[in-house]
């Protein structure tokens, strides 16, 4: 998969599509797209890891809650996400369970930061499990 994500036109907020061969890969790339609005994930050193575990009543809620983790971690732990590893999505009861390991750095002073993602929205959110799997998200910035 050459392209991980692409930003689309949106007047006020930021809208992107993230791609993957699998749903898991598309979700992971969506996290990278989200943080790319604040820093360049490729430039961040992988000095520590955070385990992430979220549930959702449907895939949309699972995606919103998963992406919100990256925002939560920068605001409360100054943690900058560099890569998403070992991402799994399983059915759990009526809904879904996602687990992943975030790797990154908690020394924000070392990087060039800009902008701020306030929240993940459901506006125009789409999850298309075609080929490639495509997830579309609008984040409030």
């Amino acid at each position: 998969m050459s392209e991980k994500f692409r930003f689309l036109e949106h007047t006020a907020d930021a809208k992107f599509q993230a791609y993957g061969r699998t749903l898991e890969e598309a979700f992971a790339n969506a996290a990278l797209a989200t943080v790319s609005l604040m820093w360049e994930p490729d430039e961040v050193e992988k000095t520590l890891a955070h385990e992430v575990s979220v549930q959702g009543r449907d895939l949309e809620q699972l995606l919103a809650r998963f992406l919100s983790e990256a925002i939560y971690l920068v605001e409360t732990r100054s943690f900058l996400l560099a890569s998403v590893n070992e991402l799994t999505i399983e059915r759990a009861g009526e809904g879904f369970q996602l687990r992943a390991v975030f790797q990154g750095d908690d020394r924000p002073g070392r990087y060039s930061l800009s902008g701020h993602v306030k929240a993940v929205t459901y506006n125009e959110m789409r999850i298309d499990q075609g080929c490639p799997v495509t997830v579309q998200v609008v984040v409030d910035v």
Partner: protein
């Protein structure tokens, strides 16, 4: 979609399909062109379908596409049959503006403005991931959520007069932190007293025009060239998390079936979940009032340190731009309490309303409309007609016309800094990329937005200010 022209500045989407009321858009034909390019009109129509909506679904002159409700959207709902919606308030609860006046004139500070900005930057943390300097305990945070700017003043940040000159006196009395999530508290703890990033800014401004000399004097501005300070920020991660949490709680409890847009999720105003959201939202409103109160206090400190005095730096007013409130309005000739949502809109009460500070009550409420970075901002006054036109509301800013990505393609931060400097505006920022994204070319013309507000009578022009120094997160 059918759009009927009512006057040259008023447009209506007639009631059709599932709409319970018509939608009204206040715009010049120029502004309407940009509104038509995105989903604003569709979103205004969706709001008109919600239960218990009263009179109209309104779009202010700076309206543009939001999520669920449009930005610049105003809607009032019946207390019994109506709803309250986190998407009708927005993620940045009580994103708002505070304006401070001084007795300095342009020539007093022009050579010191860079020094002032550098010092303000040291005092007021800005930019993504930058924590506040105040170390808070959870207990103190809950106290702040309950008491807002009152907490700040009691702890030495500012004066009682600041509270008088703040919407709600700087404290929404219905606030209750009991139903705010642990995660929201965690996001709020490190961020009190921070400016944030994105479209938030702090500006040192000078008065460029006075339209109504008497009113300007009542509000504290008497001449062109007079220096003022504007602070634009909100409830930071705490407010964003409250919105996220309650959208999710309402979805889990009520489901999303039948909603044209998932972000229109809502709960009856007086249901348990509706009340919990309202009280939590009020707490986030209070956090934002306290936030701007701390920042205003530090700005005064910096002026005192650099200039030897803050020379009469008094607060003109502080307004909310994203909020839901229970207010009395006249509907079908009867005064009734309704739940007014203002999402990217400013309250614009006319003369006599008891909510207005006594010193201004005979004249009307000051309305603060910030422009985009480096452009003009306005001081307006609320009107009696706005009650009938928009549940006493008007615009809140310029409104974007270009995406951040397009702005990044077209503008460079360093170039914008140089251009602003040529216009006599000093810019300090944590990020050149952020500066490019917020380039004034990516926004509607605030002068046009304010002209429409003035001519329709939503809020009338009192004075125009332009920046001499800009601090951006």
């Amino acid at each position: 979609m059918e759009l009927r022209q009512v006057t040259d500045l008023i447009w209506e989407i007639p009631k059709q399909g599932e709409m319970k009321v018509p939608a009204t858009i206040y715009a010049s034909s120029g502004l309407l062109q940009s509104v038509k390019k995105d989903l604003t009109l569709q979103q205004a129509r969706n709001v008109a379908c919600l239960p218990g909506i009263q009179r109209m679904s309104y779009v202010m002159p700076d309206g543009h596409q939001g999520y669920g409700f449009p930005i610049g959207g105003v809607a009032a709902f019946d207390m019994e049959e109506g709803i309250i919606s986190p998407g009708g308030v927005g993620y940045d609860i009580n994103c708002g503006v505070r304006l401070l006046r001084t007795d300095f004139m342009e020539q007093d500070i022009i050579s010191r403005r860079k020094e002032l900005l550098v010092e303000i930057f040291k005092e007021v943390p800005a930019g993504v991931g930058k924590g506040g300097i105040t170390k808070l305990s959870r207990g103190v945070l809950k106290d702040i959520l309950t008491r807002g700017a009152e907490w700040a003043v009691e702890n030495g940040y500012g004066t009682g007069e600041d509270l008088l000159m703040t919407e709600e006196g700087g404290r929404m009395l219905d606030a209750d932190p009991a139903h705010i999530s642990e995660r929201a508290l965690e996001r709020g703890l490190p961020q009190l007293g921070t400016l944030g990033a994105g479209n938030h800014f702090l500006e040192i401004q000078k008065v460029s025009h006075i339209y109504d000399r008497d009113l300007a004097r009542v509000f504290g501005l008497s001449e062109v060239g007079q220096i003022a300070v504007m602070i634009h920020c909100g409830s930071r991660g705490l407010g964003h998390q409250v919105a996220t949490d309650y959208i999710e709680l309402m979805e889990n409890k009520l489901g999303t079936k039948g909603l044209p847009d998932r972000e229109l999720i809502n709960a009856p105003v007086l249901s348990e979940l509706g009340r919990q959201y309202y009280r939590s939202m009020c707490a986030a409103v209070n956090y934002a009032f306290a936030n701007r109160q701390l920042i205003a206090h530090w700005v005064r400190d910096v002026f005192a340190k650099v200039m030897g005095s803050d020379r009469g730096m008094r607060q003109i007013y502080d307004v909310c731009h994203n909020v839901a409130k229970f207010e009395k309005h006249v509907i079908n000739g009867e005064p009734r309490e309704v739940c007014v949502h203002r999402k990217g809109a400013t309250r614009s009460f006319g003369p006599g309303r008891p909510e207005i500070p006594e010193a201004y009550r005979a004249k009307g409420q000051p309305v603060l409309i910030p422009g985009s970075m480096g452009t003009a901002s306005y001081l307006l006054v609320g009107t009696e007609e706005a009650e009938e036109l928009s549940f006493s509301s008007t615009a809140h800013g310029a409104g974007r016309v270009m995406s951040r990505h397009e702005a990044l393609r077209r503008f460079r931060g360093e170039q914008i800094r140089d251009e602003l400097l040529k216009k006599g505006i000093e810019l300090q920022s944590t990020s050149w990329k952020g500066v490019a994204e917020e380039a004034s070319g990516a926004y509607k013309d605030v002068d046009e937005v304010v002209r429409v507000s003035h001519e329709v009578g939503l809020g009338c022009m009192v004075a125009r200010v332009v920046p001499v120094g800009v601090m951006k997160g």
